[in-house]
């Protein structure tokens, strides 16, 4: 064998070896575990979020030309930082119980060997599932759970992208004081909230914030979300007739309140809904026409053509056959994109490197699906740029009306209803 052929051979072998290596890397997908309520009472939300995250994974794996202009991760061909590795989502059902959530977290870590976990929607389940991730040293990101104590546990592997109750309360307070300055009457505020974790915690934070800001909460009505009748509550409201009513409700009760208020013919001058049930696509579809002018909070309110929210919304609509992204599914998708970005920058599936990359996350507002000002975590893992938009129902659709710099429409008061 002469020198020439030897060199050719060596080169070919090296090339082949390289091919094998990159081939292997491209074949080895990065597993991300996703824990959601896919059965039980919150299954509706869980299943919409699941679809939103699937859209996100599809964009990372297969690319989207429009989105790639704004966010590098949408170029396609998987995670460039890991030699084009694709993302594989492993979904698990928490069944609405803290026990199942924890059991599934353990399965994702030990059997599926996921690099990171996203979940688990209900705060109580996020508590138990993230405790397992913490002990095993796997990054856990929650995109929806708002309980204040989640980031107070001294965890090192826990991150949260969503705004929490205090952010909502401040937004409402500022918004209402602005309306007051503009001449609206806000002399009395009623808080109507369902009495599980979500409603109770949000209501008490709002009450505290309003007290600080001099907004008088004159009525506080707690009720059980699975009530079959809300007439007595609406009659209580009708009697006191507050200027502002804030509803913190799930879907079933949102439906009941809307129908009952219409039937009993009562409406406040400003009606505010705290997201959740009033943003459920099922609610918007069937009762959107009965709540014209309803003020709502959402982290998602569409966007201008060609923007990240708008492009993702179109992809999502294609997948679901018409349903738009809503607050919950958009927050879920946002959480996933943050995680994908971090893994990409980590350039590895090593949990510690992913955690460090998450800590270094710094995404601008322009890359957000949700209305956040960006994503940047503090020492406790809370996204300090998380914020919320205030929206209003116009002709069967929510449009952003506050804060002014991100509003797509002017506010119209008083509340029109039906």
């Amino acid at each position: 064998m002469d020198n020439m052929t030897r060199r050719v051979f060596a080169g070919a072998a090296a090339l082949a070896a390289l091919g094998v290596v990159t081939g292997a890397a491209a074949q080895q997908p990065v597993k991300i575990g996703v824990i959601y309520p896919l059965s039980g009472n919150s299954a509706s939300a869980g299943n919409y979020s699941k679809m939103a995250i699937e859209v996100g994974a599809d964009v990372v794996n297969n690319g989207n030309a429009e989105l790639a202009k704004i966010m590098p991760i949408a170029k396609g061909g998987g995670l460039s930082g890991l030699g084009g590795a694709k993302i594989q989502l492993i979904f698990a059902d928490n069944q609405g119980t803290p026990a199942a959530g924890q059991n599934q977290a353990l399965r994702l870590i030990s059997e599926e060997k996921v690099a990171a976990i996203i979940g688990a929607y209900q705060s109580g389940i996020t508590v138990t599932a993230s405790a397992i991730a913490e002990r095993h040293g796997i990054p856990f990101l929650t995109a929806e759970s708002v309980a204040a104590n989640l980031t107070e546990r001294g965890f090192k592997w826990f991150f949260r992208t969503t705004p929490v109750a205090i952010d909502f309360a401040r937004a409402y307070s500022t918004f209402l004081r602005e309306q007051k300055a503009a001449g609206q009457k806000v002399g009395s505020v009623a808080l109507v909230h369902e009495n599980t974790e979500y409603g109770n915690s949000v209501a008490s934070v709002i009450a505290e914030q309003f007290a600080k800001d001099g907004l008088p909460v004159t009525q506080k009505i707690a009720y059980s979300a699975n009530s079959s009748d809300v007439q007595p509550q609406v009659l209580q409201l009708k009697e006191k007739n507050p200027d502002v009513a804030i509803f913190i409700s799930y879907t079933s009760d949102a439906i009941l309140y809307t129908k009952t208020m219409k039937e009993l013919g009562w409406k406040p001058a400003i009606m505010i809904a705290d997201n959740a049930g009033f943003n459920d696509p099922a609610f918007v579809k069937s009762l959107g026409g009965s709540v014209e002018g309803l003020v709502n909070r959402s982290t998602f309110a569409g966007g201008k053509p060609g923007s990240v929210p708008e492009l993702f919304n179109e992809l999502y609509k294609k997948k679901t056959g018409g349903d738009s992204l809503d607050d919950v599914s958009a927050r879920g998708l946002q959480g996933f994109l943050v995680m994908a970005d971090a893994i990409n920058r980590a350039g590895s599936t090593d949990p510690a490197k992913i955690r460090d990359a998450l800590k270094a996350t710094n995404l601008p507002a322009s890359q957000m699906v949700t209305g956040y000002e960006g994503v940047k975590f503090d020492d406790k893992g809370q996204n300090i740029l998380a914020s919320t938009l205030i929206t209003q129902m116009r002709g069967g659709q929510y449009v952003a009306i506050w804060p002014k710099d991100r509003a797509t429409a002017q506010i119209v008061l008083p509340y029109k209803g039906w």
Binding site: A222, S224, L256, L264, S286
Partner: protein
């Protein structure tokens, strides 16, 4: 005036409670079986109505009978395929079997219809009217009056007709009834059919003002259990009285004390009733 309004709304609600409990009490009285899947029967009745009403374009006059037929069929099938067999075992087997059935039906609906909440378009029997200063909602009046009529009809069938007395004979002593030439299995199947029909109608009527989702039956089932034992097992009239009482008590306590405590008041009242009348308001001692 508001108080009267609250009581009226409680009565209308109570009539619906009575209606969706009457099927449960019939089965309970007839063969001492508690159907833990009862709430899910109601749920399937609601879905039947929603499908007929919206997807297939039928109106209320098609939806209500359709729900009655579908759930009656389901009742008879459950009787022949499951209940008949588990009655040979201890009372616990009923809980085991019907709980399994409940999960199966709930998630079969989940599989078929998805997890979304569905509501009927409220223009159908929407609207409300005012009578003597009291505001009535169309759909609730329909459901309440429907509930009252169906429950009374069921009561009359059981007490005033020959079929009713044959059913009663079977429930008193099946062996003796058999000697008298009554076929107990046929009577029991008939009871499941009647209970199913009433439950289906209840579901269809509730669907006009309530949301429909796969897990809605869970909420309704506990209420039905309380209503039935409150009224006394086997007594359709008892379920009616109990339903009305519970409806009014719920409404009043939600208005006067606070909605969170309305269940507390109802449960306390229930335990008190059983303390003084262990067989319920109208049950046989």
């Amino acid at each position: 005036m508001t108080l009267v309004q609250v009581i009226v709304s409680g009565l209308l609600l109570g009539a619906v409670y009575a209606l969706f409990s009457s099927g449960l009490t019939l089965i309970w009285g007839m063969m001492n079986v508690v159907n833990f899947a009862h709430g899910d029967f109601v749920m399937l009745g609601m879905y039947t109505a929603v499908v007929i009403w919206t997807a297939l374009g039928g109106g209320p006059f098609a939806a209500v009978p359709a729900a009655a037929i579908v759930i009656a069929t389901l009742g008879v099938l459950s009787y022949f395929l499951l209940v008949r067999h588990i009655m040979r075992g201890p009372m616990l087997a009923q809980i085991l079997g019907t709980f399994g059935l409940a999960l199966f039906l709930r998630y079969a609906a989940f599989w078929t219809f998805g997890a979304d909440f569905k509501t009927l378009p409220d223009t159908l029997i929407g609207g409300s009217f005012t009578l003597g200063g009291i505001r009535f909602e169309g759909s609730r009046v329909l459901a309440g009056v429907g509930g009252l009529l169906i429950t009374l009809l069921l009561h009359l069938i059981l007490t005033r007709t020959s079929v009713g007395s044959r059913m009663l004979a079977v429930s008193e002593d099946a062996t003796a009834a058999q000697l008298m030439g009554i076929r107990p299995q046929r009577m029991q199947a008939l009871a499941w059919a009647m209970a199913g029909a009433a439950t289906g109608i209840a579901g269809a009527l509730i669907a006009t003002f309530f949301y429909t989702s796969p897990t809605v039956g869970e909420t309704l089932a506990i209420l039905a259990f309380v209503t039935v034992s409150f009224g006394g097992f086997g007594s359709v009239l008892g379920a009616l009285v109990a339903g009305l009482i519970i409806g009014v008590v719920e409404s009043l306590s939600a208005y006067l004390i606070g909605p969170v405590y309305k269940d507390v008041v109802v449960y306390v009242l229930f335990v008190l009733v059983l303390w003084f009348r262990p067989q319920g308001l109208m049950g046989k001692a």
